[in-house]
Amino acid sequence: MSAGAILPLRLEDVVYAARGDPIINSVSLEIGAGPSTIILGANGAGKSVLMRLMHGLLAPTAGRVAWNESDPRSVRRRQAMVFQRPVMLRRSALANVVYALALARVPAAERHRQALEALGEVGLRHLAHRPARVLSGGEQQRLALARAWALHPEVLFLDEPTASLDPGATREVETIIKAFDAAGTKIVMATHNLGQARRLGDEVIYLQAGRMIERSPVERFFLQPATPEAAAFIKGELPWA
């Protein structure tokens, strides 16, 4: 790891519009190192788009997304993202992790060992030589996490990583996310699952119709939401959480 940190990440009046419709509307916030951040909101609130703006997969229509580091290569290499549906290459689980390490310019001699270590971290070492695409949904998501783990990112974005998983696989994924947190990686996760937000989050950013409505520590958010919108969301969602 080089000396300077890429965090904090600053969003200034960020707007993202598709065909004239604003999906993210004038969001300003700062994401610093440390406590894990949960982006909470209903389907269609703009969570995924906000994550993609932060991760650099989308360019804002207006406003600014700025990291504490000007070299875009360095910024790209020190963050990772895990999507709701992981995309695996048609090669072995191990080779998928090695591929990510190669892109991150890890020396060839080191890749194999580091990839195996990352697979061990998510409990997939025994499946290292299995083709990645025939793994189960839960295993693929853990493989996506191993691929991120191998990169030792400073920030890990997770876009509803357990939305298509069963409870058992969800638990395993959550355990790994906690391990990232414990290892000092900043977690930024989008979810609409309140239970998961409570289990994994330190603070909540509540999003509704593309706007940031509220940002509070997780305990306070659930016990005493500051806004009626957040209160209504918690009340409406709780029975299914």
């Binding site: 991150a104 083709p131 990645a132």
Partner: protein, 231 residues
């Protein structure tokens, strides 16, 4: 008619030297052309699938149109390039198997590039965000895509091979159908039919069909086995 077929088959199985010489040259020319056109065409198709650049739509339209290039026109253009007065005349390639490989490569390059572009564009929709997130852009992303879609691209390459092994016009013009040097299956069939040696023409036609069928069967089996294994 039956006697003609019988004589044709007899010459195939009698390992008629002339016949098999023609068969091997055909395979050599067409497979070389497919190899070169694939090495150039697959990355080209992938770059167009992955890239976003001005004039992209125009490039796609032109490429699709070039799929329908008449072989005789390609033959004529390559002939002009390679003829003694042409820009590549000094190389002395006209009426050699190399000239035939060049002509067939030109003929099927657009087919392989256009069909792979189409196949890879669908795959790219699935991969785009993940690869960008990992830091794969441009040529690197394109090559990753080609390798990952390798089983789907088998069909693309076969389309090119089918076109190359079936065409007469281009190899006839730049090869000259010289006996023992540039005579391939299709030009031989055309010639022998007009000369009236129907058994040889028919025997060659039989071999041509069998080879094309065998290659397609093999490719399909490999593709299916690989798909099952890699998902």
């Amino acid at each position: 008619m039956l006697a003609v077929i019988e004589e044709g088959l007899r010459r195939v199985f009698a390992l008629d030297f002339e016949l098999w010489n023609i068969v091997f040259l055909s395979l050599e020319v067409s497979l070389s052309a497919v190899l070169i056109a694939s090495l150039l065409g697959l990355p080209l198709g992938a770059m167009i699938a992955v890239g976003r650049f001005p004039g992209r739509q125009a490039v796609i339209v032109v490429l699709n149109a070039l799929m329908g290039l008449p072989p005789v026109v390609v033959g004529l253009l390559v002939y002009l390039l390679l003829s003694r007065a042409g820009p590549l005349g000094p190389l002395g390639l006209l009426f050699t198997p190399t000239a035939m490989v060049i002509a067939q490569t030109v003929l099927i390059l657009p087919i392989i590039a256009a069909l792979s572009r189409q196949a890879l564009e669908d795959a790219w929709r699935e991969y785009r965000e993940q690869l960008r997130s990992l830091g794969a852009e441009g040529l690197r992303a394109a090559l990753t895509l080609v390798w990952d879609a390798r089983f789907a691209l088998v069909t693309t390459v076969l389309a090119g091979l089918g076109r190359a092994s079936a065409e007469v016009g281009a190899v006839m013009i730049v090869g000259g159908n010289i006996d023992g040097v540039t005579r391939v299956m299709t030009t031989a069939i055309a010639l022998e039919t007009s000369k009236g040696d129907l058994p040889l023409a028919l025997g060659l036609g039989f071999v041509l069909l069998t080879i094309v069928l065998a290659l397609n069967t093999a490719a399909q089996l490999v593709k299916e086995a690989a798909m099952r294994r890699y998902g």
